[in-house]
């Protein structure tokens, strides 16, 4: 991964630190006075294709050095941010660009009243930046101001380094900045975990419900019990970001449920959990069941339990589950929630699918229950009133499209992972068609769940990727999607479609996907299968839902 670091001060320490990093390559111009030229110059590193992201870290005082009055400073800041905004708006850049907000170190000797000037200047910059990030999907705020506040400006700035080496920030501060950069960059590539599995006693509340009773557990707005309530508030925020929550607790079901349903200080309620395992079975068994009921990989679970023995048993028996240590000091529970977020679930932004995720997975559990009850499968599928909306990707689909390639493991024929940049590249090519489909039914909207990337060379087409979220697997939706695409390609002059199955640890469910649809195997080695379909000899497909072209 390659990124460009631009600054108006010396950040040599950060640059050197990244030079030791094997996965991240940091490019920075010689001299720190040239950052604006680099942005303007269309032949500079800022515009290089191989660069994934750009970080612009700006020191407020240096930006307005030489300006005396607040009016002059305001004018200067406005002119700088405007020129950045113009450049970014003009270019169709898919690189992620992080632009710092500002922090004025209050070094001037001033009366109390005039100290507010700095805040006003910081806000002028921020409000312009805020407009930009709302208009441009690829632009983010680099929260320098918050980093300074968190550490404290006395420790963040180093007078000595400034006077001796033009480096404004302390070594500690530069470590904080580089950690933040690394966190953001990793989030572009790393697979997020999907589900947080939580214990109850001494985890979501203090004490043991079976011993201390409903009124004896610690859970309150203030004082001791607030440790747990605050922890729950942060966990609830994770849920709002698309993280699924499940309970895995050794308890009497009714005792625990009474607290979840009735305790006035419970933040997390029954509807917040996709799955609840409150029983006396071994936790390893429950955890495996959670993964299988939700139809997600067991390696996408994170297990939180205050009991070291339970943690150890899970760690030793299910290696794929992540089991972080629980804080020894429960005053640190809120910090712990932040750590969990950064380690396993960090994301730069959310898709709409994230917000509704819990409901979607719960709907799915309902669907499966009804499926089990329904003897005639065909009438069950028909009764779902499935609607499939399909179209070629539009700019607003790019983020979700990349996410589908990154996160889907089971129904994924070739398991090729693509970044947003790569998907945009495909989308703008004449030889590539990318189809995206969303699915809804009587239980609710599943969102955009399927992606097909087709490479076209005159009369031949290749299915580069065929992906569908496991949420809607097993309902023959894929049959209608492929049918539509085949017909669309045929209309565009394609005669032969080639396709491929590449085995991974997880995509067994689609081992015979193309075989079932009448594709002929033309080559087979090491489990990889190459197929071909002559579009003039295409067979009829099952139809259970209504397909709508959008």
């Amino acid at each position: 991964m390659k990124f460009v670091l631009l600054s108006n001060i010396n950040l040599e320490y950060i640059i050197r630190k990244f030079s030791k990093n094997k996965h991240i390559e940091c490019h920075s111009p010689d001299g720190y006075g040239v950052w604006q030229q680099i942005i303007m110059d269309q032949t500079s590193m800022f515009y290089e294709d191989s660069v994934d992201s750009i970080f612009i870290v700006l020191d407020a005082q240096e930006l307005t050095r030489g300006c005396v009055s607040i009016e002059e400073k305001t004018k200067e800041l406005k002119s700088i941010i405007e020129s950045i905004v113009n450049v970014i708006k003009r270019q169709k850049n898919t690189k992620k660009i992080f632009i710092s907000n500002l922090h004025y170190k209050s070094s001037e000797i001033k009366s109390l009243k005039s100290q507010n000037e700095n805040k006003r200047l910081e806000y002028i910059w921020f409000s312009e930046l805020d407009k930009l990030i709302n208009e441009q999907e690829n632009v983010y705020v680099f929260p320098l101001n918050e980093m300074i506040q968190e550490l404290g400006s006395k420790e963040f700035y180093s007078d000595k380094l400034w006077y001796l080496g033009g480096s404004k920030y302390s070594i500690k501060a530069q470590n904080i900045i580089s950690d933040k950069i690394e966190l953001f960059l990793n989030s572009l590539n790393k697979k997020r975990k999907k589900c947080l599995v939580l214990d109850l006693d001494n985890t979501l509340w203090g004490g043991i419900i079976g011993e201390d009773g409903f009124d004896g557990i610690e859970l309150s707005e203030f004082k001791e019990g607030a440790r747990y309530k605050d922890f729950q508030k942060r966990i609830k925020e994770l849920k709002e970001m698309g993280i699924l929550l499940a309970i895995c607790s050794k308890n009497n079901y009714d005792d625990a449920m009474e607290v979840i349903k009735k305790h006035e200080h419970m933040v997390l309620r029954e509807e917040d959990f996709v799955c609840t395992k409150i029983n006396w079975e071994p936790k390893t068994k429950n955890i495996k069941e959670i993964a299988s009921e939700l139809n997600i990989g067991i390696d996408s679970l994170v297990f939180i339990d205050d009991n070291p023995v339970e943690r150890e048993v899970v760690r030793e028996n299910i290696l794929e589950v992540s089991v972080p240590e629980f804080p020894k000091d429960t005053a640190k529970l809120e910090v712990f929630a932040h750590d969990i977020y950064k380690r396993y679930f960090f994301t730069l932004d959310n898709t709409i699918e994230d917000k509704n995720k819990t409901k979607m997975y719960k709907d799915n559990v309902l669907r499966n229950t009804e499926k089990a009850a329904s003897i005639d499968l065909e009438s069950f599928y028909k009764g779902l009133n499935t609607e499939i909306f399909i179209r070629e990707v539009l700019p607003e689909d790019i983020k979700r499209a990349a996410e589908l390639t990154q996160k889907t493991n089971q129904f994924n024929l070739t398991t090729k992972r693509y970044t947003e940049k790569e998907i945009s590249g495909f989308a703008s090519s004449n030889n590539v068609k990318i189809y995206i489909a969303s699915v809804s039914d009587k239980y609710g909207d599943n969102g955009k769940v399927s992606l097909v990337i087709v490479l076209i060379d005159d009369e031949n087409a290749v299915f580069d990727s065929f992906i569908m979220s496991c949420r809607v697997m097993g309902r023959y939706i894929e049959d209608q999607i492929i049918d539509y695409i085949e017909n669309d390609l045929k209309e565009n002059g394609v005669k032969i479609i080639k396709a491929m199955y590449k085995p991974t640890k997880k995509n067994k469910p689609v081992l015979n996907f193309y075989d079932r649809l009448g594709y002929k195997i033309i080559n087979e080695s090491n489990g990889e299968k190459e197929y071909q379909l002559d579009l003039s000899k295409k067979s009829m497909r099952k139809v259970y839902g209504e397909l709508i072209k959008k």
Binding site: Y13, R16, S158, K160, L164, G165, S167, S170, I171, K172
Partner: protein
């Protein structure tokens, strides 16, 4: 932690030299990675992580880890 051990750790990290090979007697000029930037990073890290002060006026004169250790050992 022992100040000498801590100083060795910091120097090893900044100079990119294994801890066992850190030589307190070696002069600044004889260590390739001890350039002017590393000099500042070393002194600042020592100040920040060990809670000691190296006055501005003395920064220049420190030309070996021994000398640096002399300055901070009593603080």
């Amino acid at each position: 932690m022992d100040k000498r051990v801590k100083l060795t750790e910091i120097a090893s990290n900044i100079f990119n030299i294994r801890k066992e090979e850190i030589d307190f007697g070696a002069k600044k000029e004889s260590i390739e990675s001890w350039d002017s930037f590393a000099h500042l990073a070393l002194l600042s890290t020592v100040e920040e992580e060990m809670g000691v002060v190296i006055p501005f006026e003395e920064v220049e004169a420190i030309d070996s880890l021994d000398k640096l250790f002399e300055k901070i050992k009593g603080q």
